[in-house]
Amino acid sequence: MGSTEEKKKGRQRGTYWKLFSATFLLSACTFGGGFVIVPLMRKKFVEQLGWIEEQEMLDLIAIARSSPGSLAVNAAILAGYRVAGWLGSVVTVLGTVLPSLLILSAVSFFYTLLRDNPIVDRAMTGMQAGVAAVICDVVLTMGIGVVKENRVLPVLLMGVSFVAVQFFDGNVFAVLAICALVGVIDGAVRKKKGGREE
């Protein structure tokens, strides 16, 4: 009995450590803020660790985007909860915040050097292009996933949402609310149809 319990504890500790190191690395490498965390988390938690499913990842991002605070922090809280409950969330939040604390503590001593440095400026310029590529890559992968569902409505929602947000400065929450409503109606209609056919 004792040994199996110890093993379980050991495995849990291993999970916490993996969660911590994953979020620590992600946070330390998130340049450009915001949505960059989506491709990074997807790679780590969906592809490499297999702890979260593809669709589930999108759900978690939707929840993270609709809640107050930083997208990266919120996504980390959700991933931690998914893998190891609320203690998992504590671990992932610490993993996300700690790099900021360490890096900025160091930077605060010589930040004028960093601010006026042309080499840093050039690195940032290159990195901006790299970050754009990373986001475009994940959009393409996920977008193809939606198209492959072979249904018109999700593709339509995707297109209309994009145009609304990008070209008409549409309010993000209004767009999310409308899409949620359309999804509910669509689900109800399909259920009714399915029921009749049976």
Partner: protein, 184 residues
Amino acid sequence: MIYWQLFSIFFTIGLFTIGGGYAAMPLIERQVVEQHAWLTMPQFADVVAIVGMTPGPIAVNSATFVGIRVGGIVGGIVSALGCVLPSFVIVLILAHLYYRFRNLSVVQGILSGLRPAIIAMLASAGLSLLVLAFWKDGSVLASLENVHLPSILIFIASFLILRKWKCSPIVVMIGAGVAGMIFC
């Protein structure tokens, strides 16, 4: 007590900034520069510049950096925790609800509508970043002459590497930074 003040200010800011990132900046500026006069306006401009250059969530970085400048390392820790705490409580509750009710058909409907919208928002963020990287002033209307050629080449190379070899995005971003140092 300065630590308590920092904590409560960033707690409030964390609670009321939805969407994160630079949305919090005007709120922080009002508290830190105008109300408490902890930093001058040029000092705050430095904070914004540094936060944009360092990795990590922008909201957390600005809280931490302001905290360090105002109250040392402890100030930084207190500010970061204050900024994260509201999210922690709210998101944890939502996470619990999600895993409890996600199999309900209504919730399934909501989520199936939200997924395409989230991809659209990602695409929009990607496009804005792309425009910012290609045209330094961030406007597509800028003529083709103002286009920043090295950035375009770095973008294309990064994109091809990501698609073809499924390389880690972290490696690609760091590689793009190094390429920028050399070619930009």
